[in-house]
Symmetry: D2
Subunit: 338 residues, 4 copies
């Protein structure tokens, strides 16, 4: 039985407690938050759950194997380092940290302490996302050309981080997972319309080797919600629309088949478009957060490396940091270092 403590009782905390408690060999023993009004209902709902404002008490409890950090990103580094140094395994909500340096320090500490460090990029445990990964891995799309993603809606502005840090971690983590690569260059443009210094609209471009591109549009200021990603390959194409109730993934058997060059006259150049069937695959009906929680427990038990480990978390923060830097420099291209 793995005993956990959840730090942060805001939006994600209660969901994490519910999901971990439904895994047979896991149990949440503590929830910790500075705001006691958030702790009271959890205490009422889970009679065996300890609620506390004192993080050190949690760290000192030898029964606790793992710490789940669901607090604002600015606090991730300190909380995670303390937990790792106390010998606990750590699951951190996305993004891993507020800076690449912090993320690297957390990863290095986890390695030094031989503890599991996992970041909660939930979409990597979403059946729609893993189905697309499966298509890419078995070559169904051919060579990947570009990915275009939009994640926009009205509302839920944050006050401490801009829209890139709030929404783009989803798209970035998905794209890096699908491509199994890191971008060479990042650029971004955007603006803050309702709050000084906190951008609420942004357009981000990622450039990879082999001419692969990815573009991400995030906004807190759009009237109609969109959660839509297109992946264009040389053989087939995919649209993943997370708002579709029944057909979230569509695989299009489409492509530009042949480019017949006519030596004599440019006017007779011919392309042939291939337009075939569209398949919307059956997807497992599971709560991605449940899969994520179970994966964390499995990694602890089996000593395995999480699918969203420290490295994956660092890579996402690298892009977030570069995108924000580019945005503040008028869209300048930022090279991603090694």
């Amino acid at each position: 039985m793995i005993q956990l403590a959840v730090i942060g009782a805001g939006y994600w905390g209660p969901n994490l407690i519910r999901n971990f408690n439904q895994i047979p060999n896991a149990r949440v023993g503590y929830v910790c938050d500075l705001d006691t009004t958030k702790l009271a209902p959890l205490a009422a709902q889970y009679p065996n759950l300890h609620v506390t404002r004192d993080y050190q008490q949690v760290l000192d409890d030898p029964q606790i194997d793992a710490i789940v950090i669901a607090t604002p990103v600015s606090t991730h580094r300190a909380l995670a380092l303390d937990a790792l140094r106390a010998g606990k395994h750590v699951l951190v909500e996305k993004p891993l940290a507020a800076t690449v340096q912090a993320a690297r320090e957390m990863d290095a500490t986890a390695r030094a302490m031989q503890r599991v460090l996992m970041v909660g990029h939930t979409f990597i445990y979403n059946p729609a996302v893993t189905k697309v990964k499966e298509y890419i891995e078995r070559g169904a799309l051919g060579e990947i050309y570009y990915i275009d993603s939009a994640r926009v809606n009205l509302g839920l502005h944050q006050f401490d981080i801009n829209v890139i840090w709030d929404l783009a971690p989803h798209d970035i983590s998905i794209i890096l997972y699908w491509l199994s690569r890191r971008p060479l260059r990042v650029s971004a443009r955007g603006n803050s319309y309702t709050q000084d210094g906190i951008e609420d609209v942004a357009f981000i471009t990622l450039e990879f080797a082999d001419k692969i591109m990815a573009h991400i549009h995030v906004s807190w200021m759009s009237p109609a919600k969109l959660r839509r990603t297109t992946i264009v390959g040389s053989q087939q194409m995919v649209v993943y629309d997370d708002l579709e109730a029944a057909e979230k993934v569509k695989l299009y058997d489409m492509g530009v088949e042949r480019l017949a060059l006519n030596a004599d006259t440019r006017a007779e150049l011919q392309r042939t478009y291939r337009v075939g069937d569209v398949i919307s695959p059956r997807l497992d009906v599971v709560e991605p957060l449940r899969v994520e929680c179970k994966h964390f427990i499995d990694c602890i038990v089996n000593g395995a490396t999480p699918r969203t480990d420290g490295d994956a978390g660092i890579a996402v923060v690298q892009v977030l940091e570069a995108a924000t830097r580019s945005l503040h420099q008028g869209g300048k291209t930022i090279e991603i270092g090694a």
Copy 2:
């Protein structure tokens, strides 16, 4: 009765002939193309239409008042200049010219010759686009924040121009018309995947004064067709989806109403989102090309300035030229001169 000659019998030529011939005080007297196989069916369909390969014959005919140029963009300048110098009024298919310099030369010649020069930005005559313009003009959207537009589908690659020159003239002309402004800066990123040197995917950013932004995504390589533009204002927002059969324009009574700052604690900051009715206005059922053709005839008859005059045409070419330059310089920001 205004007598016209249509130059170019490709895709647009026959549509232009059909529309002009249905206007009471207009008549197409000539159609001219180098490819006689395109002329034959038009000759069969319109017994009174002269078909010819000889442009000079058309220019020499004093009965012809106006020339309609529906040929590849690289030929626009020469054909238009000859027509204007021959004293003809000229309607040129979009974009006006292949370079800003050529566009300016055409505009200057039209002014010198006191002839109408109009560019065929058809969407400016589309009831959906003019309805949105109406909303903006009467302040229904409040202050405009940003515009996001996507025009993507599979196919119809061009061989002489990239996807920016092929598809973006629509979005650029619409955006400049709505905003009644010209951008200060343009940047673009994109790639060519199926033909060397001809980009088939691009993302373009336009920056205006007052922090107004516009973003345009164009692609010939996308599995699911999109023709969707979002306009976000401080008071209301609009989505214009040209693929909707019945509700192309939707006006959302939405906004971020109030930002209550609490001096003491960041945690109690509050935004209030206003979410009201959605209205999809009745739109006139007209063929935009018909409205455009009629407007050209009216401008000739009344000596009026077209809504899409040489200036409007130059402005679009400026953005196209800047976008392509930016794209070839890795997304560098290009300042638009006076």
Copy 3:
């Protein structure tokens, strides 16, 4: 403080407990079910909730003001009569009873005992449904012509009742509420494909005075879920699509405006269609079950008659009974008595 007991811990029971417990002047004191495996998790979740298999114990407790019956329909009559005779107010899940006779007996008993009897037609507390009612009441639709409703999906077959008794109570209760009338005649056709004697597909017609018609299609065997109702009036029309995330109700300013009769030639008869704006009104964001629960408490406290009282419940059962009888007689028209 109104103390309640919930009978039945299946699908609806836990939702009812959660909602009643969130109303300030209500508290669920008991949950009662024969299946103790369903009681255990509720006991764990609500420390102050008594769980029991013994209905009599609940009836005998003088602290309990009201009984909420969420059991299979065949048990409604006996459970409700016992509760009313014990002096309790009663809320019964839809449909009110398995026969009109039982429903009438329950209503008469409630009147005799001067207790509130309410039936859980939840959709009558749904903001989309009440918005349409508001349109009808203020004459926005003009004279109502007909209503067409579809409620189909794959799955959730019942074993004791057919698809009419399972799904059509929603549509029937909505339609009778909107029209403030009862049908004169009912007919239905359908078939059982996967289980003998339990129809899984049906088409029901309701005929009202003044030529008003309603048609309801219900199915457990349809690949794509539909929850869509059209209301056609002489002045305006409405589509209510419960699956739409954002625009559930649309009011169409449409109609057949004028019928110009030409005495001379039938060929020149002319109709004029009026096609105006479409409005999708803002709807309150509330859980309809919460509104329903609160309404029940208010009726108990204030001695008011519920919007979905015994009479409304009887009317729905009349239609269900007539529809099933018609279906079993090959679609014969069944007259609804006084």
Copy 4:
């Protein structure tokens, strides 16, 4: 070369002329209409086309092989009989005739004269409809359970026929073609709201052997256009939505897999739903009317029986006649004779 005469220059006439003239071995020699204002534009457009008000002139011309009748249904019988007796092949617009008796007389005359009689059920030549037929023929759907079809919109009221005769021929012809069967019984309910005696809304039920059902809803009075047909089979299901631009046909790998009966307790009965992939097949891009016209020419040339022959036309009229009779008798079930 097959020479044709088109009778009726209303909506369908010009489309038929255009399509026949694009078939290499066909040519339209005459168009005949009593209204000369409809003839004039056709004369202008087709210099070699004879226009006339005199049907006898057409019948007397020995060059004319076939007559295409695109006039109101009440005139079909007389025009077709004259043509067949003059030795011409005949294509009649749907429905074949205004009564079953007339349709049978036409069919018998065609057989006696050994001439092709074909009815213009265009949807039978639509690639979406033939794709579904292909699925049914190869058993992909298993046993067919029921079909549900809606064809509604605002407008285009007819003055001489009701909405059943106007819109339902499409659905009836499609359903009979898919099932390769004729219904045993037909019933219908509907009402006339805007014109006395001409129903503008109707609901039709067809009952076939083996418990197969079909339901058709047609209306001229509905705010949102629908052209949607669901086919439910024991193995798979199909939705055919003619308004979808790109994915008109969807094949759902869905069904009720197994019904596990538990002898002891009804409460533990279990159904297993199978929910698999959804496939939207590539469809040929052709104009169905072109395919229909070509098929007529081929049948004349090869002496073949049309896919939509007199028999098919009679079967549709039988259902139309029965449906109208049922509607006028309050929904009474009408048996279809041999």
